[in-house]
Each structure stands twice: as C-alpha cells, then as structure tokens.
C-alpha cells in the first residue's frame, strides 16, 4: 500500500477522533445508550430537547474521560466548564450541542504508537486536547422529499480526542487509531466499534511539497465519513495523491484556499467535496448556563490514576523485559486485545517456557480462536491446561508435533478434557530410546542413497539434506521420536560414516 516511489512530498495528518463512552445512560439524562434499537425508542424529554428540560452531567462519563486523559499523560486543568455550540440541524434537538470550547477538561498528552513489521509506527503522536460533548441523532435519508430523524443516539456521551498534525503516513494514521482503540478498550471506557459508530474518525491532511524554491504546503482538507481502519488508510493515500496532482495543476497553497471538507466514499475509493454550508459556521459558543463548572483536584486525579492499571505500551514492555520476547512478539500478543495478553499472562504464570508459550498462543490458540470466531477468553483450552501441555513439551515428554496434536484433541474435547487420558489414549509419548531411533536413521539412510550422494558431493546444502532425512525418520516413527535426539544421533552417525569413508 504505497503510492509512487518516494513522492516529493510529506503527508501531514492530524486526527479528530470521536469516541462514545461505555456508560449505562446518556450524558445528561436517564435513558440507555444501546446501539441498533428501533428508531426513537431510546428517548426521553431531555435528549429530545423538549422545552423546559435540563441536562445533568453523568458522573461516570466524566470519570471515564478523565481516566483516558490521565492515561495519555494529558494536563488536567483544575477548572473546566461546558459551552453551547449553536447550529441548526434536525439531528441536534436543542439546536445547540453541549460541548467544551475554551476550557476543556484535558490539554496536551500523547500516544506512543508501536512499530510494525514494515517499519511503520514506532513514534509518539502528541495530543492537542480531549473534551466531552453529547452525540447527535441520525438522519435517515428516505424518499426524495423528506428525511427521517432518529434521536436514539442523541445525548450519548462522546469524547473528542484531537491530535497534533504529527502523523506522516497513512499507515501511521491507521496504527495511531488502532493504538488508541486498544488503549481505550484497556481502560474500559469505550467498545470502539467503528462499524457501530462508537469510534469515529475525521482526518485533517495536507502536503508539504519539496520544490526547488523550498517547501510548499497545500490547502488543508478535512476528510469525513471514515468508517473503518482500512478506509482511513485508503482515504489518506487517495487524498495525498489528489492534492499533489491538484497542486501540480493549479499551484494553490495553504494561503490561497480555505480549509475544505471532503467526504470519503468507500465504494468509489475517492473523496468528494461536501456542499458548503449556506452560512459560514458561526457557532456562537457561550458557557452552558444549565451545567455548572467542574473543579478537578489532585486527589481526584490520583484516585483515577490508581484505577488505570497496566496500559498496552506498558504490557509490551513487560513482555519483552520479563519474558524475553522480541518487540514483534510482544506486540502481537498485546495488539490482539486484552483477552489475548491476559491469556498469555495466565500461561506464563504456570510455566517458564516463555518463548514456547508466546509461539503457541500466537499460533495455535489465536489461529483456532479466529477460525472459530470466538474470543480467546472463550477458548476451550484454558491457560492452565495449555501451560501443562507446554511444560510437558518442555520436559521432553512430547515433541512439538505431538503437542500440537494433543492440543487439537483438547480443543475437540472441550471443557473437562483430561490431558493424561488424551495422551495415554493417543499413545502420545515421545520416543527417546536411542535403539529404535538409531535403527530408523540407518533405515532412512539406506533407503535414500540419492540423499547420501547429495551430501557427499555437496550438490545440496547439508542442512537441507539433513532436514529431509530427519523428516523421513519422524515419519517412520509415527512422529513420536524425540526430534532433538534424532538430530543428535543423525549427526553422529553421519560423522561416523564420513570418518569411516
């Protein structure tokens, strides 16, 4: 996923992310926040903006937002207040959104994003601010003449996280968003389902183009309708290319044109200019008189900080330093979600075969769980059982192949499986007696003269030939031979043969 090799520009991206908070009730009233109910069945007089009704702040929503800000190392001002953002739109019942203007509850902060295999990420994105507001309802565009308004979503607690324009590639934008999602899920403040709209992202993007006359910045474009991680990446790549081509055509720079808003069309794979509003935006912000300011003291911040627990970036670090995992392995275990890392933690609490545990969780456990469409938390083989199995492999009671087969049986049997019985019944016992293995090796050498020939002439690499021969031995022993012993004995037999020749 990259455009032409080394385009002569740098992409400058900042994200504005809206996150619905996982509260039981709305931001300012006593109705639920479930997704996907029949239109207008999750409303109350307050979220409908009916005359005379008043908002009252959901304390849990505020704490969740505060927790997020603390986890991102933001500055928490002592004093914060709510403001009204005035604009007329049918999905905004009061025709003002309760939001935060000049004194948000959180300023600054940052989000370090991990590196991926391709070398993306591995940097820290600064945050500008985080503020709290209420979500709007939805417009359902029905027939030509009319639209239907559904206000179920109106009043859902919404946290807006604004990043600095620190992102330099589409892949980094996706990684940043993924790390944000992971962090918010770790904090338990949002389920961050882009499909359901509980995580929504707008991106501000322009280019810094290198020209002989120096650096030139293109006009800033805000991209909306980014409803999947993939679309974030696609839209940015498209937009960078579009802006570059457009600049080559018209030469317009940031000082020549105002910021424009473009919507991403996923099926078409393009961004489209959104119709300019009939009046220039003038939101006439002023302090919301119905809600009182909030004063956050040190003790409150510390109380929430103590509740935060280990964050993804801290967990990766611990996996590396405590269990000796590579940054890549640590990231795979963490980025898959909290249940995967929890599972791994539970396994390595019971066995010191850390590397093996990492491999097995990443491969057998994750692969099976993904294939069966279940979460790792629901995986039929519990961490204690896997630790037991890994310990046996580690002790040489089973070889790797046998271990995998036993795991297969354990998964098949499901809850209540008896590992001893499965090993016994399946005859899964690794053969570590030298006699039968020597016999099998000699048989393999005898029946594969061509391999012996290759080895002698050096026509093929010795490791490849030996690998082939070890495979023959394993096959002959029904996969039960101790692979380490097979290798060891084969080497000594070959050495004998060589020495004898």
């Amino acid at each position: 996923m990259s455009t032409s090799a080394n385009p002569p520009y740098t992409m400058i991206v900042g994200l504005e992310v809206h996150v619905q908070l996982l509260t039981e009730s709305k931001m300012f009233s006593w109705t639920g926040t479930e997704f996907g109910l029949a239109p207008n069945t999750l409303c109350d007089p307050v979220n409908l903006g009916m005359p005379g009704t008043l908002p009252v702040m959901n304390g849990k929503a505020f704490n969740m937002a505060l927790k997020t800000a603390i986890a991102c190392g933001c500055t928490i001002p002592r004093y914060t207040k709510w403001d009204r953002k005035n604009y007329f739109y049918p999905d905004l019942p009061k025709k003002y959104q309760i939001s935060q203007y000049d004194l948000p509850f959180s300023l600054g902060g940052s989000l370090p994003i991990p590196a991926d295999k391709e070398g993306n990420g591995g940097k820290t994105i600064r945050l500008t601010r985080i503020h709290l507001e209420e979500d709007t309802g939805k417009m359902v565009h029905t027939s030509g003449q009319e639209s239907e308004v559904d206000l179920n979503r109106a009043g859902t607690p919404l946290m807006e996280i604004v990043s600095e324009p620190d992102i330099r590639s589409a892949a980094d934008a996706r990684l940043c968003l993924e790390e944000l999602r992971l962090t918010l899920r770790y904090l338990g403040v949002s389920d961050c389902e882009m499909q359901e709209g509980s995580l929504r992202c707008d991106a501000n993007v322009n280019l810094h183009i290198d020209t002989p006359a120096g650096k030139v910045a293109t006009p800033i474009v805000e991209i909306k309708n980014l409803n999947s991680f993939r679309s974030v990446e696609r839209a940015l790549l498209y937009e960078a290319d579009r802006q570059y081509k457009k600049w080559k055509e018209d030469g317009l720079t940031i000082s020549d044109a105002p910021k424009e808003t473009r919507g991403w069309s996923d099926p078409d794979g393009i961004t489209k200019l959104q119709r300019e509003k009939e009046t220039a935006a003038d939101y006439r912000y002023f302090p919301e008189p119905d809600l009182l300011p909030v004063v956050v003291d040190e003790e409150w911040v510390e109380r929430l900080r103590a509740e935060i627990g280990e964050l993804p970036r801290e967990r990766r670090q611990r996996f590396e330093s405590t269990f000796g995992l590579s940054p890549y392995d640590a990231n795979v275990l963490v980025e898959q979600g909290k249940d995967v890392a929890d599972y791994f933690d539970a396994v390595v609490a019971l066995t010191d075969q850390y590397k093996m545990a990492s491999n097995w969780v990443q491969q057998e456990v994750l692969r099976t769980a993904n294939a069966d469409g279940i979460s790792v938390a629901d995986f039929p083989v519990k961490p204690a059982m896997l630790a037991n199995l890994i310990a046996r492999v580690g002790r040489g009671e089973l070889n790797n192949q046998q271990g995998r087969e036993v795991l297969g049986k354990l998964i098949e049997t499901g809850a209540g499986a008896d590992i001893d019985q499965i090993i016994e019944a399946g005859g899964f016992k690794m053969v570590s007696d030298e006699g039968p293995i020597r016999e099998a090796i000699q048989a393999a050498l005898a029946s594969n003269p061509k391999a012996m020939e290759d080895l002698k002439t050096g026509k093929k690499k010795p490791d490849a030939v030996k690998g082939f021969l070890r495979g023959q031995v394993m096959k002959a022993t029904g996969g039960k031979a101790n692979p380490a012993l097979v290798g060891q004995l084969m080497d000594s037999i070959l050495a004998e043969l060589e020495g004898g020749a």
Binding site: M50, P51, G52, L54, N86, F88, K94, K95, E278, D290
Partner: protein, 495 residues
Amino acid sequence: MQLTNLTATEVVAGISARKFNAEEVAKAFLDRTAKLKNLNIYVHLDDEVVLNQARDVDRRLAAGEAVGPLAGLPVAIKDLLCVQGEPTTCGSKMLANFRPPYNATVIEKLKAAGAVLYGKANMDEFAMGSSTENSCYGPTLNPWDPARIPGGSSGGSAAAVAAMTAPVSLGSDTGGSIRQPAALCGVVGLKPTYGRVSRYGLIAFASSLDQIGPFTWNVPDMALMMEAISGGDPKDATSLPDAVPAYSQEIEKRPERLRIGVVKEFFGEGLDNEVAVAVHNAIEVYRKLGAEIKEVSLPHSKYGIAAYYIVAPAEASSNLARYDGTLFGHRAKDFSPADEAEKDLPALVRMMMATRAEGFGAEVKRRIMLGTYALSAGYADQYYNKALKVRRLIRNDFETAFKDVDFLIGPTTPTPAFKLGEKAANPLAMYLSDIYTITTNLAGIPGLSMPCGLSSEGLPIGMQLVGPAMSETALLQAARLFERETDWHTKRPNI
C-alpha cells in the same frame, strides 16, 4: 362567606376543618373566572380537569387518606410551566399545540402537596415583556383598571390573584417578571434565590436568570407556597440542595437583625413621586419598628439594564433555537422562497426560517436577533463577555452592601401600571420598567415585592425588599413585620 375572597391559608384551613370542601372552592373560583373573562387572564382552563382534581382531594379527605399541606388549594400556573398532557404554550403561536409528556418539578411538588392545578395564565410570549401585551392570545387587563396593563411577563398570574380568580399562582422572573406585575396588581410576589426552586419544566427564557416564584395576597400565603415548591432537584443541576426551612412557622418571628439599606440609585430620575412617597412611608414604618435605616449605594446598578439586555437575549437566542419546526411546535405550511436570496437556500433552511417568522412575535424576534448578534463572531467580546464582567461588578455591589445591611429597600417599579399600548412602540422604554428588579436576577439573589400604597388614581404601588442569597426566611420575616403594621395587603380591586 365569599370563598374567592379568602387567602390561601384560609382556603387550606377551611377545607381541612371541613368548613367547605375543595370542590366548592374550585367551583367558586371557576364561576368568578367565567364572569371576569374580559380580563383575559387564562389561556387554557378546563373546568372539568379542575373539578376532578378537587373532587379527588375531597374523596381522599373523606377516606381519611393523607393529603398534603396545600390540599384543595387552586393554583393558577403561568403558561410556561410544563403540565403533562395539558397545553403549555408560552403565549406563543409557536407552541399553540404543544402538550409536554412530562411535568415540571414544581408541578409535581404542587400535586404531591394536594394542590389543584388551576388554569394556565397568560404571559408575554416566552416571558419576554413587561406588560403581557406580547402574548399571541392578546393582553391581560389589570383588574384595578382594565385600561391598564397588569405588568409582565407574568401578568396573567398576577392578575389571576388580584382579580380573585385564584387564591395563589405561580410565575417566573427573569428580570422582574414576578415582582413588577405583583407591584402593578397589588399582590405579593417573590423571586427566590436562583436555585432555590427547580427550573426543570420551566420553559427557558434566560437560563442563568430564570426563577419560579409565587403570587399571593400576603406573606403567610407566600411562606406556605414556598415551603411546597422549594428544594434541590436531581433534574436541575443549578438547584440548591439546602434544606427548606419551615417558612410558615419562621415568618412570625422577628428577623434576627433589621438593618435596612435604602438604595440611593433607586430613588433617582424617572421615579414617580407617588411611588417615592409610598416607599418612604414604608421605610418610616420600619424605622418605627426599630430598624436601623442606612443609605447604601449600588454604583453599577445603572448598567443593569444594558448588561441584562445582552445576557438574557444571548441565552434566549440559544434556548429558543429549538423552535424551528423540526421536532415539535409550529411548522410553516408554505416555505417556498420568499425572495431572490432564499432561492439558494435548501428547503430545510427555508422551512426553519418561515416557521420562525410565523411562530414568533415581534419582541421575541427582536431579542433573538439581539442575542444572536451579541454572540456572533467578532462581537462576543464587545458585548457578551463585557456584559458578563459587568454582571460580576453588579453582584459585587450587592455583596458589599450586605456587609453593612441585612436588606435593601426600594420601589419595585418606577411608576404604577401604565396604559395598554403606551410603551408598545418603544422597546427601550418598556425595558426600563424593570430598572429596579433586573439587578437581583443578574446577582442571583431574592427579591420580594409587596403592596405599600395606592396612587391617587387608585392604582397599587409596590415596594421591593432584597436580601442576600438564600435569605428567604429573613426576607419573609421582614415583609411579615411590615404587613402586621399596615393594611395594604388587604386592599382589593373593586370588581
């Protein structure tokens, strides 16, 4: 015995003592209301709904069930307090068909206290006005002189009591909308401390200034009503959780201290001489009662009207934005482009514009325009932010004054009731009739207006007592003290 002449305290006591029943009371007031229809006090009144509530009180009394402290007391309601399923229109064509699916908190409290919700009283549209002439239902007439306005915006609520069509009523006060009509109609009106009474279900004009309060004939009735409607409310974040004192018992005590400040600025130019004399006489009454009388100054009060006419319209422009024809209220039938400029606008925008043009009256539009302008980009600092700073200075004035005195005294209004139409063409002149009341809203403190005289034309004159935040008990005690020495509260219009 003429039931409609009774005070609220007498009505409640009579029903409780079975001297008469709630239905008889309701019927008496309904009959009188029917006779005084020409005053245009009520905009919605359903006799059957009223009688059914009264009968229910009688049934519960007969069954020995617990009834509240207001059992059987008819209470007229300003038409901006939401009553579930009943028309609640704010005197506006915009809400002509609006029926809220919920009750205001004060309505819940009245019901819990056993009160009978009487008719919905006329008002200036969305509480914007000082004469009740800005109602889509036409003006209410002053019971003392039907050629005159009753004051506003709670003119219907004040006239309801003055005309004895209800023993008490509820109004709301954003810049004087209870105290000014109380003064002009010769009854007692209290604007409580901001937050003392829940605003939930009060259709907002200016949220940081609005406060609900009662109209009554005297101070004991006021105490009775305040006990019923005050208190913190989980539905109103700006309500105050402080316990509600037993006002009815407290008022018979003498206030702990009686240092009264005479506000210098409230006796300046524009004050009618008869009003000035009446208030000075009242001050003498207090002096005789042993009060320490001091002159005090509120140096920033002269900026009160100017600050108010930025803050209140700014909040109103936002509060009234929801009336745009989308979710509730009026929607224009025809919203085709009215001129060339509108041809470029989407149908949705034209619908909103046409709806608001049809649904709102001139004064509401004027204030929406003023507020929108004051908040708009480039002007917010000059107007809105400046006004908020002046508001702080005004409050500081009061705080300074209350270091030396316990109450402030002055006229409620510059003149007695003026004639219908007299100020209709001059918005600014109308705004100035709230000059003595408006600063207490900006400061969030309580103000009480009570009768203290009659003009040579037989029109009521009111004086205002102002106290620090949450001083209602002392304020009512001071008012009661005056009432016991005088008989102005017993004067009734001759109708």
